[in-house]
Symmetry: C2
């Protein structure tokens, strides 16, 4: 039959959008019983090419692709941008459909966080890895991430889950969590997607006004400059940081929050670069917008 010759196009048309956790669990259990591998792409929506590269990797690797779109309130601080965070759900679903996604899970807050008067609440957190850097600047943020990821993993039961390297500390926290708690899932890191001038894609880039947008590119310029110096033999972290701070400092619109060179696994700060993998982590405000980026050494 002709329509069976190209099953992908049928799948695309048939992408399901489901709000109920228990409905998703039913679908997924059905697929698991058929022996299908499930690729999972958790997102907060406002999708860009970075998210879509995760969905495409999942599509390439797995029998079934599930994405979630949920702006998770527990990972926002009280003075952060929860309310203004963009929520273009219809556009997001179109983009996921075009990537060959099979199911989009779109819970609301009440579906993932019960509110029944007792006020009690279960949390998942990762000590140390979740307490440094972003953990210091955004207390509770990574606890909120770890908790919602645990819920999503239990609902979607993925064989593989895809996370961008752009949120490097988040990636390390989730890898650790999955290992420590014996989640039966492979965490797949996907390289950061960048604009032509190097700026890492982020849903928050939409907040940047024109001169801020230009200034923001200096964050990645500083990163690449640091990587290049290290490649050429500079091992002294103080000198590397000073060089990178100079690049950021040339743009008065950039206010650095931290610029750290750390062990790529433990995220502990280094004095000297060795042959072991290291990571440069940057967090900065550009105007009112907070941006983070990172790059690897070795």
């Amino acid at each position: 039959m002709r329509f069976r010759a190209n099953p992908r196009s049928i799948l695309k048309l048939e992408m399901e959008i489901i709000q109920s956790p228990h409905e998703v669990q039913k679908r997924v259990n059905h697929w698991r019983c058929e022996g299908k591998s499930i690729g999972f792409v958790p997102t907060m929506g406002a999708l860009h090419e970075g998210h879509l590269s995760l969905a495409r990797a999942a599509r390439r690797d797995c029998d079934v692709v599930v994405a979630s779109v949920f702006v998770n309130p527990t990972q926002f601080g009280t003075n952060e941008d929860l309310n203004k965070y963009p929520r273009p759900l219809e556009r997001d679903c179109d983009l996921l459909r075009q990537c060959g996604c099979d199911l989009v899970f779109t819970p609301e807050e009440k579906d993932l966080y019960f509110q029944d008067g007792s006020g009690a609440q279960s949390w998942v957190e990762v000590e140390i890895l979740g307490e440094v850097w972003e953990g210091t600047v955004r207390p509770g943020h990574l606890r909120g991430v770890a908790t919602v990821v645990a819920k999503l993993f239990h609902i979607v039961r993925p064989s593989r889950a895809y996370f961008g390297e752009k949120d490097y500390q988040q990636l390390k926290v989730i890898e650790r969590l999955a290992r420590d708690l014996f989640f039966d899932v492979e965490i797949v890191p996907i390289e950061t997607v960048r604009e032509n001038d190097g700026l890492a894609l982020s849903s928050r880039n939409a907040y940047l006004v024109s001169d801020e947008r230009q200034a923001a590119a200096n964050i990645s310029r500083a990163l690449f400059h640091g990587v290049e110096l290290a490649k050429n033999g500079e091992r002294d972290v103080a000198r590397l940081r000073a060089e990178m701070q100079r690049v950021c400092g040339s743009q008065p619109l950039i206010a650095l929050q931290y610029l750290a060179i750390v062990d790529a696994q433990t995220l502990a700060p280094l004095d000297k670069i060795s042959d072991a993998p290291a990571r440069i982590l940057i967090a900065a405000r550009v105007g009112q917008t907070r941006l983070i980026d990172n790059a690897g050494i070795n």
Copy 2:
């Protein structure tokens, strides 16, 4: 063939004892793919009739029964009895075999808690429900319980998990955890098993010397007295508590830690008994030994 006529007796002989989490995951995934229901009985060993009643309930309800024996260090405080806690593993396995258990998971500390120098560690905890009563007297205890139960659930992937009502707050914490985090498991509470004089079975009863053992029975006497008074119409919590304290106080070897009458779901203390389910919770020291017990009203 004759030996197929009584498969249970063969199962008993074939009970497996496995230390490796990944080996257990393999066995369990095999059973899950065959569509078998898995009953799980997590224990710290030193088994008594209370534990065995959980194993027998699992055997009655489920296709496969898995028990775990693990003295979980993260649920012991620094001055508690971790080192002297009894560990009669061979006897425990014999008892589980006699209950028709199919697999006993016997991990060591390093198998469930990784130690790789980073010191980081993932934790699961339940706010409020895990912070009152036992949470106050034994800080960190219920976080240790919740964390190890999350690990065990991921390894054993039970359809049903059996917990004794003896540890009532623990039961409520795990019910809440399973619901909040969308664990795909049914939590089955099993009634407390008691000695003839009413003392709730506990592995820690073995610590009691003879006059302490006699005195300890007054804890359950106080409980039953409270339940009886409530049944006969006493609604005032202050009067109920005073009556129960009088029964405990008649034994100078009993030092009460708390005696509370609480909402059976939220564990919030009550002033008046209503028609809603309530629970009496008692914790006491008898000599050096700490004992807890509880009973339901309505």
